[in-house]
Amino acid sequence: MRILRPSFKQLRLASITAILGLSAALTGCAQSSGASSGKKIVITLWYWADSLSPQQLNDVSKAFPNVQLKAEVIGGNFEEKLISSMYADDAPDITAINSDNFVATMVHDHDQFVNLLKFPEVRAAKKDYLSWKWNLASTPDGSYQVAIPIDTGPTVLYYNTKLFKEAGLPTDPAQVSAKLKTWSDYMAAAVQMKQKINVPMFDNVYTVYEAALDQGKQYYFNSNLQPIYAHNPVVKNAWNLAVKVHQDGLAENVSQWTTAWSAAAAHDGFASFIGASWMVPQLEQSDPRQGVWKVAAAPGGPSDQGGSFLGVTKDSKHPELAAKIALWLMSPKHQAETYPSLGLYPSTPASYKMPIMNKPSKYFGGEDINTYLSASAKGIKMGFESPYDNTVDTIFSNQLSLVALSNKNPQTAWNDAIQQANQQLARVLA
């Protein structure tokens, strides 16, 4: 019933509009809904490929009969496009916001969004979501909610059982989890892999850096927005680990989200990587072989990587309706349903026990990967993410790439990273 109410309201509104014709109070509304009573309200939604279920997006028009949802997949320059559409006051009604870094930027620009706490439905649903995840999309005082969580990104170890076997490493998830508990265990296994079969353990050094960084409790800034990247041991340790991986020749040097990575995954080019659950479709589509890859606990402990949000922009003519659609899409039931196909790990704990989430996966050789994902999700402790983490992280990853690919001196690269990060912050904050 709660779902149907807005539709009746909108229909009535539309018919009144038709009857009254030109009523000043209603023209704005009528224009945006297509100017005539027969037409549906068009709600636009932007998202990344594989970040929402196409099936559920289709079903929106069944749950909201008066709505025509135009869902658009936006490409790699999503964030750039979103900000430029906001700038032009032409943003979609609903937008996905990806990565914890970017949501921090959007919280900073929260006046571009509708405060979702305005709507009683959202206030009531707040308790259904993981509180740390929910808070990532709120202003520090908690009074302004920019977005509703989509998924979380508990990290696990994905590993190629064929290569692990050849290298004399265990292949059973429990044994792998037990053997590769820490980063030094993981590095030792990588050396063994290289010695025995000369295959790199890691896809690239950046994955190593990011995984180790995310396992920390503090990143580039403290909660007073003071930069700490130059001294934070978490950053330095992650950096050193990545450098070590490079120096020992343990990475294949293929970047994620490229054809080269897909090809390497499919051709046993690297043996493992630490990644969030949303890497499942990436892996499946890159390497169609079933039963080759399995999932174990991530060495070094649990962490959260990415995971998106859905926000309603200030440009929406139907903010309440848009918020309801977003909430409907992100209900515990729907989140659970998206998990098996897209690996989107729910932000609603009520989903975790649902049978659909705890099935053995054919792709992972019959393993129920939720065992490790849920353990990781439970252990997540978030540090502070600033609106500038994205900027700083790009600079560090570029310098790391120079070390890995062009043999730049690691110390010089580190110094350059600090210097460039300082410079870029000076530009942003000038």
């Binding site: 320059n77 559409s85 032009a88 032409d90 589509q285």
Partner: protein, 295 residues
Amino acid sequence: MQDRIGKIHKEVQKMVRANTGKSALILKPILYVCLAIWLVFSIFPFYWLIVSATRDTASIFAYPPHLTFGNQFLKNARDLFAAIPFLKSMWNSLYVAGLSTALSLFFCSLAGFSFAKFDFPGKKPLFLIMLGTMMIPTQLNMVPMFVVMKSLHWVNTLTALIVPSAASAFGIFWIRQSCESSLPDDLLHAGRIDGCGNFRLYFHVALPTLRPALAALGIFNFMGAWNDYMWPLVILNDPNKYTLQVMLSTLNGIYFKDYGMVMVGTLFATIPLVILFFIFSRKLMGAVTIGAIKS
């Protein structure tokens, strides 16, 4: 480098002279081999594009590579049309390129004709100002143009791609040159005696004579607009508004795992221009060389 060019030139001269002699039997093949190598370099990418468009990702990245056609073409094409509004973007490109070319031809010929055949106060400074505007690189203007488009409410519209380029200094210069070389004053006088006003003179006398120049300028303009990438990338946000080039780059960014599909998209984006070139190749190459030799 000049030394090398000199040697080559000498060789060529020798070959020319030896055309009827015996040494042509040896030199001719060498020359043809060199040309053939460059031919392969030019053409092979097109061939490989068609090959990959007919294969799935796994077999595109097989090792050693397959150099023959596969049978996945229809599947790739279906996937392409299902994944993104590809035809829409093709239409957008056609619309933008067509309309901006039409407008540009009209405004440029009108202004070029005026600068060539009329004497009016301020003509010289105005013409120099116009030429001077060609020196300004577009990149300088990119950021403020975006702001201008916002105040016109043209962000994320195709209008933003059409209007700013509706009259180009290059086009006006081009038409002026053609008017001076191919539009005799007598013809205009005759038109004047027949009672033509300025516009009718332009429309009935100048335009028909300028047809070849307009055709060349039109192809230039159309190809430029069709292939434009940076400005559409800046200004368009909604995939339904994307031009073909922006769509192609997005396709490459999102569907890198389905390479066969990306290649079909690339193929479809290339075909229209190849056809256009096939029809107008002489005209276009003529235009290119005239532009270079005249200036």
